[in-house]
Point group: C2
Chain length 241, copies 2
């Protein structure tokens, strides 16, 4: 058993809850489930075993893989799955991340995007690997509920879209997030954690800034994205509790 590799066609859901989420959402991509001898035979465990038995998914009792794949002491179940393809809905709203470099951030952003109903994610390379187990774990399984597509550059993405407003988030954007008029169909675009969006985005679509004082240089990426997602989607959630 080797470490996770970006080049391989297999990834891992680390932990009991995450493995259950994997089974519930991507059963056809599950290859096998590993169980550590310290795993309690509790309700969640029983659920996982039942699903595996029903679907002829092999359960392997072995502690070795846990040392290789997990740096957390309390991870006692691992779900191995085949990396899967998804199809972007080009009529839906998109979140576009240009050159995201931090795996934890990417996972957290996916979780928030899914929660706010933005389930189509564009990633412009170079970028982190969405199937890295660290991303999967930080997404708390929300990765199993989004469509995503990698592009080599932003202009390739532009060729695939029409009839939507592009909103690049930049420090000196022309429009204030809280008051800008929001189109019904949109792509929210965010740059790299350290460098933001390249200068070319100053002249693309409707640029947006999130106002803050000058005591900080910028918001961190995943906070900026979560605020942007919230502001653009909050009217969809007014009556729900």
């Amino acid at each position: 058993m080797n470490k996770y590799k970006k080049e391989d066609n297999i990834s891992y859901a680390l932990g009991t809850t995450l493995t259950l989420y994997l089974l519930d959402n991507h059963i056809n991509d599950v290859l096998r489930v590993y169980v550590h001898n310290k795993q309690e035979h509790n309700d969640t465990y029983n659920k996982i075993v039942n699903i595996c038995n029903k679907n002829n998914i092999e359960i392997i009792e072995s502690d070795k893989i846990f040392h290789t794949l997990s740096d957390k002491d309390n991870c006692y179940i691992i779900g191995a799955f085949k990396k899967f393809d998804t199809k972007i809905d080009f009529n839906a709203n998109h979140l576009v991340l240009v050159n995201p470099s931090n795996m934890g951030n990417l996972g957290t952003i996916i979780r928030t995007a899914v929660g706010f109903g933005i389930t189509n994610l564009i990633i412009v390379k170079p970028a982190v690997d969405i199937f890295d187990p660290k991303v999967v774990r930080a997404s708390m399984g929300a990765l199993f509920n989004i469509n995503f597509k990698y592009y080599d550059n932003f202009s390739d993405y532009q060729k695939d879209i029409s009839n939507r407003t592009l909103y690049p988030f930049i420090l000196n954007g022309e429009n204030n997030l809280s008051t800008v008029k929001k189109d019904n169909t949109y792509s929210l675009i965010f740059g790299n954690e350290a460098t933001g969006l390249p200068d070319e985005f100053d002249h693309i679509g409707t640029t947006i800034r999130i106002n803050h004082n000058n005591k900080i240089d910028s918001l961190n990426l995943d906070n900026a994205v979560s605020i942007g997602l919230y502001e653009f989607t909050k009217d969809n959630f007014v009556d729900k509790k």
Copy 2:
């Protein structure tokens, strides 16, 4: 030179920018500055040396401390500083974190809070150590621009305040964040990353929920806090660019 210890009276700003930020904001608490032999003698370095010379702060050229304190390869300057006390402004708006357990989250939250002008932070124990170098670094120096105070429990904090609305953020809060009437003076209250706020907060103040769909269990803490801070402060930033 030992590792950072919570019990000691000394902490560290890891990195060139962070050390400059420390010198600019808390010069009287700086004990000494360490420089690695790989540090380039660039503009920021010269600034740091000038400030240290003007203020009789010792500069120590040594690589040893970097192995002990930093896990990042590109950290070549460390500012050692005396842990400092701050005074909460009990007339200002507060951010209250109950049992925060993740150092990176705490730092990021402080950065966003300072950016949105909320510079008084209450922390209810048990909680992470705000002076841990990981928190200092994740705050990008914003820690040097806030007032903070630890309380053993929430009721001790309640004894110190008056004339403000308490807004606990809970999953089933009575009020929707985006439409709730906002008092002018307030405390925004958030719970632990994994467990949220204890049940007693259901009956304190004006409870708030951030609406999202049921594809996720909850938002992660630092995204929830950043959204709450944004919504409560955005009207202060409407005309600024």
